[in-house]
């Protein structure tokens, strides 16, 4: 056997061990590729939810009625009518969150190395391979340290922090800016996860409800408005396909509506939404634990109390009045007419001691038998119904109409020694609807303010800042400075910066332009 052959030994075949299944699963779950697939699936499901009307959207009931039985069955079974709350949608969000966490953990060490172990030196070949590079020949020099210092100054003037190092007999100048940008993506994901988690907690621990309230003390007005003045219950709405189910939720306190107001654009116009500047509801909260609180709730100005946020939602547009001005004409000859103001539920006195108490307001007066009612919600024939008690006399019901009625009309006859007319009134709806959001842990605030603003800030940091690095190899043997640089973002801005560095070394430097 020859010596050569003696040295030839068969190579041992090594068996490549396959990774444990758990490792492979984690690797798969943490891959960005898988994350992109999840995003695409999320997009597809969201599109389905957009194109198939969801059960909590107005118009769902007529849409649902127009579907064939097969569509109802299939869409219903697949959960398409409430897809965003379906188990698979939530599961997808959970897996996506997990993917974000695992991918971040997987990639973080690489990103951290940019911060903790910067690349201070590089070979000439590597430098010339960068997107921005230049070779500067040095024809006369004092010493390499001086050149390195010049280069470092040029770097510093352009916003880079510098380090001078030596390797293999060469001096290197390293400059960088924005190194923390390498961690920007992780900061983005942290805030995104805060947003997801906060919103999830808010959904699980809170609920939405609403309540109708009227400031009117009169039971018939409350009946007409279908709204109480005082309540300790709110109505939670749950959607079940084309049915809306309402459940009463007990509050730990009582709400009393003390006044409602509607600011109108045209005070002589209607109380419809297109003539409205704002609605305001004044409520009084009586809490056995914390006492009484008075609060105003108006549009875009909610009121928060013990985890309950009260929002001005809408109004029941049956006409009413929050304040009335009455012309009171005495029947005594020579006496001067009087003008008095009276608020809703309020009382006032005339100079002679006659007491006037507000009973109710009807926008379009009508009588059905003995029952006072309104023909419509509009101010067609408005009347203030008052209880008037003259001194030493009996209480009488008085109707003060806004429209001029004939003097001999029985309903317009003088009462308690006066003829009554409503000169003007401040229009108001009969009741308001407040929507209530219960969020005991302020999770929505954490999600959207902290998570949301944090996400915006982090995105701004990621996209408006970049990690820029420049190197200069000072080669004493070849009498040259080899410059190279790269950035992880904003290549054009970095090009300009690099050119400025070279220009700082040579004011006559003229960059080539791309035509």
């Amino acid at each position: 056997m020859s010596a050569a052959e003696e040295t030839i030994r068969p190579k041992e075949i090594s068996e490549t061990k396959s990774k444990p299944i758990l490792d492979r699963a984690v690797e798969f779950l943490s891959s960005v590729r898988f994350g992109v697939v999840l995003l695409c699936v999320l997009v597809a499901l969201s599109m389905i939810g957009m194109l198939i009307i969801q059960q909590n959207v107005q118009g769902f009931d007529s849409y649902y009625a127009s579907l064939t039985p097969a569509e109802k069955t299939v869409f219903g079974a697949l959960g398409f009518f409430d897809i965003y709350h379906s188990w698979y949608y939530n599961f997808l969000l959970l897996v996506l969150s997990l993917n974000i966490v695992l991918a971040s953990i997987d990639r973080f060490p690489g990103a951290w190395s940019f911060v903790s172990k910067p690349k201070l030196d590089a070979s000439r070949k590597w430098l010339l391979g960068q997107k921005q590079s230049a070779v500067v020949e040095v024809t006369e020099t004092k010493n390499e340290e001086v050149i390195a210092e010049s280069v470092a100054q040029a770097f510093k003037k352009n916003g880079f922090s510098t380090k001078i190092s030596e390797k293999r007999g060469n001096l290197f100048v390293y400059g960088e800016s924005g190194k923390w940008n390498r961690l920007g993506a992780y900061i983005v994901h942290v805030f995104l996860l805060i947003l997801f988690l906060g919103h999830f907690i808010a959904l699980q621990t809170g609920f939405d409800a609403d309540v109708r309230l009227t400031p009117d003390s009169n039971p018939s007005q409350q009946e007409q408005a279908q709204a109480p003045k005082v309540t300790d219950q709110i109505q939670l709405i749950q959607f079940n396909l084309d049915k809306q189910e309402r459940y009463n939720v007990q509050l730990p306190f009582t709400i009393t509506c003390t006044e409602i107001e509607q600011k109108l654009i045209d005070r002589n116009g209607s109380i419809e939404i297109n003539n409205t500047l704002d609605w305001r509801t004044q409520i009084k909260i009586d809490d056995p634990e914390y006492g009484s609180t008075v609060a105003d709730v108006s549009l875009n100005k909610p009121f928060e109390y013990r985890g309950y946020r009260f929002f001005q939602a809408s109004a029941i547009t049956i006409g009413s009045a929050s304040e009335m001005t009455l012309d009171v004409i005495p029947q005594t000859e020579g006496a001067q007419p009087l003008t008095v103001n009276i608020k809703r539920n309020g009382e006032t006195n005339l100079p002679d001691g006659t007491k006037i108490k507000h009973e109710m307001f009807l926008p379009d007066f009508s009588m059905q038998g003995n029952q006072l009612t309104t023909r419509s919600a509009d101010f067609n024939n408005p009347v203030a119904v008052l209880s008037v008690t003259p001194p030493n006399g009996q209480t009488e019901r008085v109707f003060a109409f806004a429209n001029k009625l004939p003097d001999n009309a029985p309903i317009n006859a003088p009462k308690a020694g006066y003829r009554w007319r409503m000169a003007s009134f401040e229009k108001s709806p009969i009741a308001h609807v407040l929507s209530i959001k219960y969020d005991p842990f302020d999770a929505a605030f954490i999600a959207w303010y902290i998570g949301g603003f944090g996400l915006i800030g982090a995105l701004a940091f990621v996209f408006f800042v970049s990690h820029r690095r420049v190197w200069a190899l000072i080669d004493g043997e070849k009498n040259e400075i080899v410059l190279g640089g790269n950035t992880n973002r904003n290549q054009f801005g970095f090009e300009d910066k690099f050119n400025k560095i070279v220009s700082a070394l040579d004011p006559n430097f003229v960059p080539q332009t791309e035509e």
């Binding site: 960005v32 992109v36 999320l42 997009v43 969201s46 599109m47 957009m50 969801q54 959207v57 009931d61 007529s62 649902y64 009625a65 965003y84 921005q132 230049a134 070779v135 500067v136 020949e137 040095v138 006369e140 020099t141 004092k142 050149i147 010049s150 919103h199 084309d242 600011k263 654009i265 045209d266 005070r267 002589n268 116009g269 939404i273 297109n274 003539n275 409205t276 500047l277 704002d278 609605w279 549009l299 875009n300 909610p302 929002f311 959001k437 605030f445 999600a447 959207w448 915006i456 995105l459 990621v462 996209f463 400075i481 290549q491 070394l505 040579d506 003229v510 080539q512 791309e514 035509e515």
Partner: protein, 545 residues
């Protein structure tokens, strides 16, 4: 290579520099600076002069003209390089942005004066805060702002000389948006009270700027594909399919099914200067449907021919495709001409409706259904309505209000703008197929375009994130529901997720270039769906927008 004596520290430096792009200073931002500053001067003038000043609508039309002029000159510069054409294009673009923003600012003042007038006339001494009137109340306002966002972003990126060609691609799209705005109509609406929040300018302002950046990203993607030597015939296939889809879906799908096109009708608004109301009756415009159907068939022919060319390298098919494309372009123009002349010629909408519906009574049922849907019936009540009841309901409506019905180009702004966009798509594909190699030479390098595409996609992504978050916070402050998967919220989320996928594919798969370009195009189409499709096609909270 330059050799220069540099006395600094006794170092003499010669250098050879590698690849660089245009150096820039603050002077390169002069067009955009002057446009913005000038707009605020216009605002000052408007506040000084008052209602006699040029109207916001007129300023918008001048902006539209300036954008078109800029695009024309830049296209001229692309095909026949001329420094003068380049400069005219740049400064026309700046003028366009100036007039666009001026229109928006002047509208703000006009809205303020209008409502103050109404308040005083109604005896209300209150003076609401100025931000209540910021023009972000309806789709018209958003369209003006969107076009401004696109123009502004274009000017910003065009500060580099080699990117000034962007104006040839972005400004025609901005002009289309202003055209849509023109057809939507600039009548002021009464602001829904819930929108009177400081979040509205923030949220909608971010939306318009983000949409504008997304538009620029889309234009860069198209430029990239052209530079990357994608066959123009491939672009023609996409633009033709887009046009066919537009034709197929407008007029409630009747173009290809019935060869008819029906336009909506208006009822006048009793408030002077108020926006007319849409009526449930649609009137057939003669010849439009048939001509559009013919154009659709020609475009399908274009698709088939070019597919054969692409897959079998059949030059005959290519030639046939180009002939069909030119024919389709002419036929589309004819269809639009019939549309406009048909609307203008119609003087008695009621008589025409009765005549048409007598021959096609099912139209009464369709109109009756639209009337019933607005009557807040329960699902059971609605389902119980018979065709005869629906027909009678429609006839009753006509008897009561039919005399007031009228036609106007503005009744179907989205459909008409869709037709114009389809026409523009056909035109540009024809243009790109002319001296394509010359065009490719004049475009920036692939590397530059890819870098800019990434940059604009990142900005669009960040902008859409801000849009979503500010919207959620506003919703949380106004009605306690930060996220309810409303159609517009979801559409914006989908667009944002698409850009997120785009950015992450660059990280994970190193996708750049063509793949990124396709993503950018899809992302922008989703943005357009968010901006327009949701408001007109889907119900929800944002339908007023």
């Amino acid at each position: 290579m330059q050799e220069v004596q540099n006395l600094q520290d006794g170092v003499i430096i010669k250098e050879k520099s590698a690849k660089v792009s245009n150096p820039t200073g603050w002077q390169s931002y002069l067009p955009v600076i002057l446009a913005i500053v000038g707009s605020f001067l216009m605002l000052g003038l408007r506040m000084e002069i008052g209602a006699k000043f040029i109207s916001d609508g007129a300023l918008m039309m001048v902006a539209l003209a300036a954008y078109i002029l800029a695009a024309l000159f830049q296209l001229t510069n692309l095909y026949a390089p001329s420094e003068m054409a380049r400069k005219i294009a740049l400064w026309s673009a700046a003028l366009g942005v100036f007039f666009n923003l001026s229109s928006w600012l002047v509208r703000w003042v006009a809205a303020y004066e209008r409502e103050i007038g109404m308040l005083r006339a109604g005896g209300n001494p209150e003076t609401p805060w100025f931000f209540r009137y910021i023009p972000f109340a309806n789709l018209y306002d958003l369209s003006i702002a969107f076009a401004f966002g696109a123009g502004f972003a274009t000017l910003l990126f065009a500060h580099r000389k080699n990117f000034q060609v962007l104006t040839a691609f972005t400004l025609p799209l901005a002009a289309l948006i202003l055209t849509l705005a023109r057809f939507i109509g600039g009548e002021f609406i009464d602001l829904p009270p819930v929108l009177d929040s400081y979040w509205r300018p923030i949220h909608v302002g971010v939306a318009s700027l983000s949409y504008g950046v997304a538009l620029v990203c889309f234009a860069i993607a198209v430029m990239y594909l052209i530079k990357d030597k994608i066959k123009i015939e491939s672009l023609a296939i996409f633009s033709s399919l887009f046009a066919v889809i537009v034709f197929g879906t407008i007029s409630k799908f009747s173009v290809f099914t019935e060869f008819t096109y029906r336009i909506g009708t208006f009822l006048p608004n009793p408030t002077a200067g108020g926006k007319p109301f849409s009526s449930p009756f649609r009137l057939e415009i003669p010849y439009v449907g048939a001509v559009l159907a013919f154009a659709g068939i020609l475009l399908l022919g274009v698709v088939v021919s070019f597919l054969i060319y692409l897959y079998q390298n059949n030059e005959g098919a290519k030639k046939a495709g180009h002939i069909l494309l030119k024919l389709a372009f002419v036929v589309q123009i004819i269809a639009i001409a019939f549309y406009v002349s048909g609307v203008k010629a119609e003087s008695n909408a009621l008589a025409e409706i009765k005549s048409q519906y007598a021959a096609d009574p099912i139209q009464y049922v369709i109109a009756g259904r639209a009337i019933a849907e607005k009557q807040q019936m329960s699902a059971t009540e609605f389902a119980a309505l018979t065709p005869a009841q629906l027909e009678q309901g429609a006839k009753n409506y006509l008897d009561q209000r039919g005399d007031s019905l009228f036609l106007n180009i503005k009744t179907n702004p989205v459909e008409f703008s869709g037709l114009l966009t389809a026409l523009a798509g056909t035109f540009f594909v024809m243009l790109f197929s002319f001296r394509t190699e010359k065009l490719r030479e004049r475009l920036p390098s692939l590397q530059s375009l890819d870098g800019l595409m990434y940059k604009t996609a990142s900005l669009a992504f960040a902008g859409l994130a801000m849009l979503l978050i500010t919207g959620a916070i506003w919703a949380n402050e106004s009605w306690g529901r930060p996220w309810g998967f409303d159609s517009k919220e979801t559409a914006a989320l989908i667009a944002w997720l698409t850009y997120a996928a785009f950015l992450h594919t660059r990280i994970s798969r190193g996708w750049s270039g063509r793949s990124s370009a396709y993503f950018a195009i899809v992302g922008f189409l989703l943005v357009i769906f968010t901006y327009l499709g949701v408001s007109y096609l889907l119900p929800g909270l944002h339908s007023y927008a």
